[in-house]
Symmetry: D2
Subunit: 362 residues, 4 copies
């Protein structure tokens, strides 16, 4: 619980936004797995602010240092710890931060939970910055999964009310996922990027922010992963995906839409393809009874708008107990959906690796 | 993992639909908690088929026998085991069941996962019948929570395309939840029951089934429960709720709708009420940074249509490897949403009890 | 924690000495494992009071009913629950039991831990009777392990100051373990049984009891099981063995004797035998760095004398707060070592199965 | 499992002897706990080689940097990560190390477990150096426990065949433990240090090493901590103490001696002292039924001789499969008992903090 997760591959995440460093320990990785550090770095850069793979001056910050568990570029089987130093943290106005909790943030709940001792600078341990070590752990798992034929990827499915196409639930391919991961703004419908960017810009112009959703797919996962009841694929994935700040919902396969269907529509008929049992549709998102069918695993996650906005907001002065007005200064990301995408992919990759290891497939 | 769940209050569920019995062990309950057996029985009866509290002839089946952990009606602190005998299980056509996996069921994935040794009779351990011990464990937790001022309840939010009102996210009350739990068909809008029942009947007439959603609320949960990242309230609740068969999605507070909002709309301003910090809206569903705000916890879950339908369906004959047509005989519940409701409430109650115990509040 | 144990094969034990029933849920068993019920019954009978395999009238009590997880005598992969009914429980003098805690028992600590709500009848959940479900779970694991070439067994190493021979740390064999498990009083040195029995009888004559030790061996465990630090074989085995009431110490290989040695004596040289790396001695008990060497795993456990004795003992009247004298009536087992032996073997078998499953060997 | 431990306070240890750094993440610490960094440093220095508190030139190496979880010297409730850089690691002869496994070390078992990918330099993750982060985590817990009236300490009980006095099982005091922790060679009997040092020197002169035991006490632990069966104090402490390399046995209270006793001798009578229930003896080591009595918790641990010795040893060349002779060069600690002492104290402190948090006492 807390900032540790996992049964067979376990991660332990630490750090605060404005502290000395953040990082992750990954325990239970198989030994002998070669790690491509360039690829790790590329994955990490996807969640950097303003990431644009076309740009030549790649920001080299947020590069984790691997302290343990890797020798000569290969995993040793011992815990892998990676640390990212926090650079350029500026002094902050503590007093204001702890007196005036920001709406939509964990300032208030964190203060109640930790008796006011929580680090409020930049959100402390609640900061979105903590998705960096998660993304790193996911990048490690992605490389291992790839060697077993599994590819995890995703795209921005919506920004505000602008929606991309969904994945083809049956035919989504490793290649499509790979291409999306190399895009600076991962969408399926090429015409939608400009409209989504405009929605983000509009929000920013208004001193506001905007939410969205992402869609994730994992292809190549063999049938028979997961267990009934509480070890099911939906349970395991959701238990880690809600660790990404701002995620407020998750749905697998047809998800909430399936609730509007009749059984004759929602059921996915079985058939065979090249001697392999498949389903001709995939409303179940590749999961029946908590266990993989061998078809693509598919889910969508809802991400709330960045709670830090430029507009004045009502809050309470915790010291005086009186209502107050808060203005959050500084520049804020008007939409975290593009940066949340690699973090949620990472969470899914870690979950799938954990479940494949459970049945001896990793 | 698998059929065990929990960190501070742990449950272990066992049994198959057509086996000797099903049940649950609950480990970690506080000692000295009086259990009202009539109330436990009433809660259990809510998930019985065709439950109608107005009827005089209450079905007394599915009453769990408490084997341990309770002395003189009071918890001892030792593990509580409750067993429900399986009565009236009829012989089934094994061979057909294991050859022709039912679409939408776990017959195929269970066979892959367990090398064909899974009990396929009535779905075996994957059966919705396994929600009975879950409902029992939840009924126990509800009684303990009530003594700490916490009430967990819910209603049918939709059947197919027929939607009930949502809870008032700020003002939903323990009394409203209590009344709903005593209803044979729990909805907020009294006019909606007839329409929902008609949608169910229509599906049944067509040899079909229909899905739906439920909305759950927990009121009275103090601020400061849960932890950041993986021990957050969303993580913990979703990790158990997906243990209820047929759940395919979960959203907290405004959920997927929040993804369409701007921050100025989604953020819940803080204010005070009777000296207590509250939020004037509750789009976050009572959870910020994984930790409770003290406002009602709210979530919705999507439930797929019963996969067992009367219509012919396409499947594969696993023995011959050829496509086949399957007709599922017998009478099937055309909509499991009303019966899933108490199971999902139960899951939420167990999760909240677990998290309150973590911080020493139980 | 509490009465649940395990990472890969998990058990959940429930019940009280004088309650309705006791039992165990075993979650995570491999599917497709045939269980020999006669053999399960034979293993269970080993811990029955006054067990003598030569006697014709075998007591058929304490036979567990398997409620789930087994179909046609074969594991299904779903949780296996076995329940043993408590028969012949007699009414007891509650008031005296809860006022006058028995020295050496958990009456006092249980009352403090559970605010006086613990079931004190016969020791409640603390009773040695709870080793019956543990022995059952171990008997299941032993059968599965045997199919993978692993045999777990043991003998009474000492009763009071009477000591048996130790196992040959290098050459202890599956056959020897199998023969010991069929003995009514398992010792290596045939001359020692009479002396040990006399020590027990002498204690009984004096209204007293006597302690002892057991030695356990597991042969056939492949090299490479376990992990460094906290997942080591010593950690895992000790974490379950101390679950057997009255165990107060455990030592692996040469154990406390190794602490008196020099390195040149304690180190086990490596050599080869039939192309396999072995050690020519086995002071390490088959474990280096927490990981198995492939040699026999060996440990001894210390068992305190039965705390229930016929002699008058000093205690405190918890109600009045005054010193008091306690006489425990009834017949008590003057030495639990012979009955603890199969329980400790069982604990070891469960631990080894758990660790073999971790690395995909089960 | 593996290098993570704990239920309520969890630690995750990482690093290798000759890697970039070693460290620990501590998750679940209470918020608002002031940490005295000088005291942390002092505790850490106790396990430094050749520690002598009288010396003026204190070695400042092995000082952990706290990266997270502490703000202004006070815990925030977020995970605390501390990293120790590895300085002065010299190049090593890989090939020889991986070909010729050192007897008594994990070179061979690690290679089998991790398919030869384990880091063998200096023992890698199996190195005794990994007790530094454990000692750090223990030092943090000790400070928190002290604020709740609990003191954990210990002494060298034996080196080879030279034995110190045991603690007075009833009257061991916080002050005695505190004084021992400030000693460069912690023994109770002042006359014994010289003899023990001589035994160590003699072993060194012979190119050999020597083992020993430590005795640990925890005073001030309230009655009622721990749970029956697998969450008992013995289970929890042993599950972490065997994480200290070279520990091969553990016994609580009278331990293996209790197995030689009769019940009338081993049972600890209850009485009262200043209105508090106590036992007049303490053979049970402060633990009955897995739960604390309120008397001192006492255990001894057996530590094998340093396996690295100067003498020639027989081993196997894993490449050629032939027997070989190994000479380990360099200077080795002829007795690790004095340095293992603070690590084992630390393990006990972490275990006790974990169990006190379970019942809401931390």
């Amino acid at each position: 619980m807390s900032s540790m997760w996992g049964s067979n591959i376990r991660i332990s995440i630490f750090g605060e936004s404005h502290g000395i460093g953040i990082g992750v320990v990954i325990d239970g990785l198989p030994a002998g797995e070669k790690l491509d550090e360039d690829e790790l770095r590329r994955e990490m850069s996807r969640r950097a602010p303003g990431y644009d793979p076309a740009a030549t001056s790649r920001r080299e910050s947020d590069i984790p240092e691997i302290c343990s568990g890797v020798l000569g570029g290969v995993t040793t089987g011992a815990p892998l710890c990676a640390v990212i130093e926090n650079a350029n943290t500026r002094p902050v106005d503590y007093d204001k931060l702890s007196r005036l909790p920001r709406p939509g943030h964990a300032d208030y709940t964190g203060a109640v939970r930790y008796d006011g001792y929580n680090d409020v600078r930049g959100g402390g341990h609640f900061s979105g910055r903590l998705t960096a070590p998660l993304a790193f752990a996911g990048a490690v798992c992605k490389q291992i999964l790839a060697r077993h034929g599994v590819t995890v990827g995703g795209h921005i499915f919506s920004i505000g009310n602008i929606f991309d196409h969904s994945f083809d639930a049956v035919n989504v391919s490793a290649q499509q996922l790979s291409e999306l991961s190399r895009s600076g703004f991962a969408v399926i419908n090429p015409d939608i990027e400009a409209r989504m960017r405009r929605a983000i810009d509009d929000a920013q112009m208004d001193g506001d922010s905007v939410g969205g959703t992402v869609e994730i797919a994992a292809v190549g996962v063999p049938a028979g992963i997961g267990t009934p009841m509480f070890g099911g694929v939906e349970n395991v994935i959701s238990s880690i995906v809600f660790g990404v700040p701002a995620v407020k919902g998750i749905e697998f396969g047809a998800g909430f839409n399936v609730a509007r269907m009749r059984g004759s529509e929602s059921n996915d008929p079985f058939t065979t393809e090249k001697g392999r049992v498949v389903t001709s549709k995939n409303n179940c998102g590749g999961i029946l009874g908590g266990i993989t069918t061998g078809m693509p695993i598919l889910f969508k996650a809802a991400i709330k708008p960045t709670p830090s906005i430029g507009q004045k907001q009502r809050t309470v002065d915790l010291k005086s107990g009186r209502d107050a007005v808060l203005t959050i200064n500084g520049r804020h990301d008007p939409c975290i959906v593009p940066r949340a995408l690699p973090a949620i992919e990472a969470a899914a990759a870690i979950a799938i690796a954990d479940m494949m290891k459970e049945v001896g497939m990793l």
